[in-house]
Symmetry: C2
Subunit: 195 residues, 2 copies
DNA sequence: ATCATAGTATGATACTGATCATGTAAAAAA
DNA sequence: TTTTTTACATGATCAGTATCATACTATGAT
């Protein structure tokens, strides 16, 4: 059948979002083309009209994740002072909600250990995303008046990602909450942010 | 044939080490029974004389990894003051050598994002390993005279694991080194450790 | 109204990988 | 020396999965 011009684009976007969700939840290896297409309400056959291969899908989905994450940072910091914006972002990043929403959260925490095993295009896509995230965080810290903003941003990102990863590993709710709380407190104190 | 009594144990240990190496390098999903057995110098058939299933192998391999990591911490801190021991451990953990040796390094950094997707026995094994690591690090920090040693240990582990993960993601050597350096400096300064 | 077309569906192929049934060899036990 | 036993090898099965060839269908163009 002949749909309107944007139909294919919309379908592609739907497939991409389904892939981005599934990949974060189940990892790139356990995600199958057929499953993603089914989640998007389609069958597996049409897949190759949108993507050359599964690898290409993974790479594109990673790009999508970072785009969504960027929007999230913008949203949390928009219209606030640097200090308040950063505090809000830390509160979100190290929240129970974020911890329990692997499918939609930060790609770095969701896929950290998968990245070194990814095929090149997907990996490059990821590296680009990480670099840009670092730069953006560095800008916020520079706005806060930090001198070595880039190094601070790297260190802060490390603790954010590590704490979220550990909180997702821990199965005991109280202990997991404690992991998040410890890093929230530490980061805010260190950067003199309002709690 | 009938080997001496320890033969089977030795074989099992060899298979476990091969699995522990492969799982950290390639992830639990890309590791196959046949490949692990081949690496151990055997064929795939005998596998089920040692392990009930691949899942059981993964769980046992994770236990092995944490045991090795514990030995490493002991080795680095033995016979030193708490401050010097901790500094030495941080230097190792955030070294280029550790970054480039995923197959043999810290299981938390190598498998962080795989853990929430693991089958229950393997996951419990991992959680136990993480808790014990936290406790041991807390003891070192308590020995350093820190009051809230447990919270400090959690925060420190988060930054260690996050920094190593990020350094392994970054493909550019200089940037990757900078990630390690930023967290090394930050952690040592924060805990008043010798550099 | 008819037809050509684009977006999907159906079904097939080829491969990989976990698991299991059975065979084999050599040393210990008789 | 003969018989067991045990650790492992061989080969088969079954399921899952990426990819591709082909068929279908409803619309926009004629």
């Amino acid at each position: 059948m002949r749909y309107d011009t944007e139909h294919k684009q919309k379908t592609r976007a739907t497939v991409l979002q389904a892939a981005a969700k599934a990949i974060r939840a189940d990892g790139p290896d356990r995600v199958g083309v057929a499953g993603v297409m089914a989640e998007a309400g389609l069958t597996h056959g049409g897949f190759y009209a949108h993507f050359k291969s599964k690898d290409e899908l993974v790479a594109a989905a990673i790009g999508q994740m970072f785009e969504d994450a960027r929007a999230r940072l913008e949203h949390d910091t928009a219209g606030r002072s640097p200090a308040e914006g950063l505090a809000a972002y830390i509160d979100f990043y190290l929240s129970k909600k974020h911890r329990d929403a692997r499918s939609f959260g930060c790609p770095m925490a969701a896929l950290a250990s998968d990245v070194p095993r990814l095929a090149d295009p997907a990996r490059e896509q990821f590296v680009t995303g990480v670099r840009q995230s670092t730069i953006r965080l560095g800008e916020k810290l520079a706005g806060l008046g930090h001198a070595a903003a880039e190094a601070e941003a790297r260190s802060m990102m490390a603790e954010l990602i590590g704490a979220l990863s550990l909180a997702r590993i821990e199965t005991d709710a109280k202990r997991s909450d404690a992991i998040l709380a410890a890093s929230r407190a530490q980061l805010k104190q260190r950067f003199g942010l309002p709690s």
